[in-house]
Amino acid sequence: MSDVLFINARLIDPASGLDQQGALLVRDGRIADLGQNLGRPDGVAVVDGEGAVLCPGLVDMRVEVGEPGGEYRENIPSAALAAAFGGITTVAALPDSKPAIDDPALVRLLRTRGEETGSLTVHPYGALTRGCRGEELAELGLLREAGAVAFTDGARAIGPAKLMRLALTYARMFSARIVQHPEEPTLAAGGAATEGELATRLGLPGIPAAAEALMVARDIALARLTGGAVHFAHVSTAAALELIRRAKDEGLAITCDTAPPYFDLNETAIGNWRSYAKLSPPLRADADRQAVAAALADGTIDAVASDHQPRDPDDKRLPFAQAQPGGAGLATLLGITLAQVHGSGLPLGRALELLTVAPARILGVPAGTLARGAAADLALFDPDRSWRVTAGALPGRAQNTPFDGRALEGRVLGTWKAGRRVFGG
């Protein structure tokens, strides 16, 4: 069942730099061999790739899975469907659920819920503070022992500098990274869109782009002070990226990711008060979008994550300022990233690195490679096959995509989890 031979595939493994036509053999759910020509052992099913790309299953390091507490918007089985459609086999789940993932038992629950799907590994983030309320540290040591991959308060920024300092100092003991929503909360409070001409014309309260750079600058200083490791999620501005670039040059333990909306869309997507394009952080001016796209190529950005935030129509069909921010992203993660390959010259290998081994390394999880012996988590996709994003017809429960109607090139043909086909065919 889980013994499969892939033939006629373009094997791309960013972890090793491999990019060649060939075959890949899966035995007992693990990658047994790969090369230009492999014999066909008896009793092994054959999948003909017909020249499509076979790469490691994608690792999405920022996903709201809806559990516990938001199951009517998304749950782990429904998120697993969307993930499999998108070629994703591993996710890191945000902890700002209801209740928050601030107890070791909840970490174990989410991991188990992922295992039950048979198609998606769920690595929970631990809550950095109790209830993600931003007051007292959660039990980072016990959460880490239970399997929390890093610590964050999810969509809530860690506001007080003293708390962030304490968290970085304490988490260092467990070699754990702190994931920050980089937005200075007092400056962003009440805002609904990026401050500027468009927000002014729409009459929307603004969030200055500087709110991101301020928090990034502060946390870089705190990382320097404490020796702690900070990961900035969904970075969206040129100013913040420049600070991160310099901090990396300095050798600080700083990493960051961005999400597809921030290199594919700009603030004009919210025109006519389109609340499905209301995100947090808000979509930015086009100069910032271009800076994000450039940072994918130059290495400043370490990973691309979907930032999947399930919302239902009641959350969105509201006056813009009252609508909830957030967009569904699992199904479109690969396609929107490939648009950078087709349209902006991002090398395909680099694009896949951002989606596989790079986030796996940040999370410290064994995923995202085609190494012999690794779990056979695989995605087979045709980079040129086109499809159209249609809200209402996406896999999973969450339909709140900011990319509704968008034509994309690059479609997943099949997804395998531990050698078992979980999508396509």
Binding site: E135, E136, L137, G141, L142, L163, L166, M173, T226
Partner: protein
């Protein structure tokens, strides 16, 4: 009696801190305290030694055991002992401290034992009074008699301090006991380690001459002595530690963590203990390794020695320090 036992190179005027004391001064105090251990046990302490001297326990912070220990020490040497408890909450501390000093000075007190929540308060007081001032704990600075009694306990059990590996575990950041012990043990040739979460280790701790560990097993490996420190409840509400169960999991001194120390390592605690937080009952009550109750006994003897030396070496009415 006793004078022949004192080998103090520089006469001590006050006992404000261990930092800056010379090893012979420390050894001299410990030698004298040693003799008072035996005399206390036989009930034959020299009641005339401090006859006619007045000792005032001036406690700006509540403390039952330290105050009682000084009171007993004074009485066993025949001093007149007066306890003053001063509430800190109602007064402007700086002004009151100096006013109190002036008042006490007018009463011709000989020995003034001071505990205060503010680091450095005994030094301020010592500048203003003629009495010999003994620091019984000032803020997060020092607690010299605790370090002396710990040293005496170790010395009596292990024969000396030179070359011992001593692991001090827990809330180093807020601990005056830890600071005094670091200075004393380092001066006497021990190798001191501090072990605790990074949030409870003071910045630049290694500059005090200690090795810093954040892992109990590594920090305790091969230790001759393991000291657990009290974790104040407010450290948890203040967020430096997430919970007592997490603290106990990683830093609570239990049999498993203690097994990394030497087989007969001494277990010490300055008290009062939080069982199940910084120390497990099985370890605290270990009849062989735990010397926690012995520390209390040594406390009285050490304080007798300190009172004795200061009452006789200090020149009353002489030049102020």
């Amino acid at each position: 009696m006793g004078k022949g036992l004192i080998r103090v190179t520089t006469p001590l005027r006050h006992l404000l801190a261990i930092e800056g004391m010379y090893p012979p001064q420390i050894a001299g105090l410990l030698d004298l305290a040693e003799s008072y251990v035996l005399l206390s046990r036989t009930g034959t302490t020299p009641r005339d030694r401090l006859r006619g001297r007045t000792l005032i326990n001036l406690f700006f912070e509540d403390s039952t055991r330290t105050r009682t220990s000084f009171e007993l020490a004074g009485k066993r040497l025949g001093a007149d002992v007066i306890n003053m408890s001063v509430a800190t909450s109602s007064v402007n501390k700086g002004e009151t401290l100096l006013d109190t000093a002036a008042t006490l000075n007018a009463m011709n007190c000989d020995l003034l034992v001071v505990r205060h929540a503010a680091s450095g308060a005994p030094v301020l007081l010592a500048r203003k009074v003629d009495a010999a001032v003994i620091n019984a704990g000032d803020g997060t600075h020092e607690h010299p008699t605790q370090a002396l009694l710990d040293a005496l306990t170790i010395r009596r059990r292990l024969g000396g301090l030179q070359g011992l590996v001593v692991a001090i575990c827990g809330d180093i950041l807020h601990s005056r006991v830890a600071r005094s012990n670091i200075h004393l043990l380092s001066a006497m040739g021990s190798r001191v380690r501090v072990v605790g979460p990074p949030t409870l280790i003071p910045p630049e701790a290694h500059r005090l001459g200690v090795e810093v560990f954040h892992d109990m097993k590594a920090g305790l490996a091969g230790a001759d002595v393991v000291m657990a420190l009290r974790l104040q409840q407010e450290r948890m509400t203040g967020g430096l530690v997430p919970s007592s169960r997490e603290y106990f999991r990683f830093f609570g001194l239990d049999a498993d963590k203690l097994s990394y120390a030497k087989p007969n390592a001494l277990v010490m605690h300055p008290g009062p203990m939080n069982r199940g937080v910084e120390i497990a009952s099985s370890v605290a009550d270990d009849p062989v390794r735990s010397v926690i109750r012995e520390q209390v006994e040594m406390g009285v003897a050490v304080r007798m020695a300190v009172l004795d030396v200061l009452a006789h070496a200090g020149i009353k009415g002489g030049p102020r320090q």
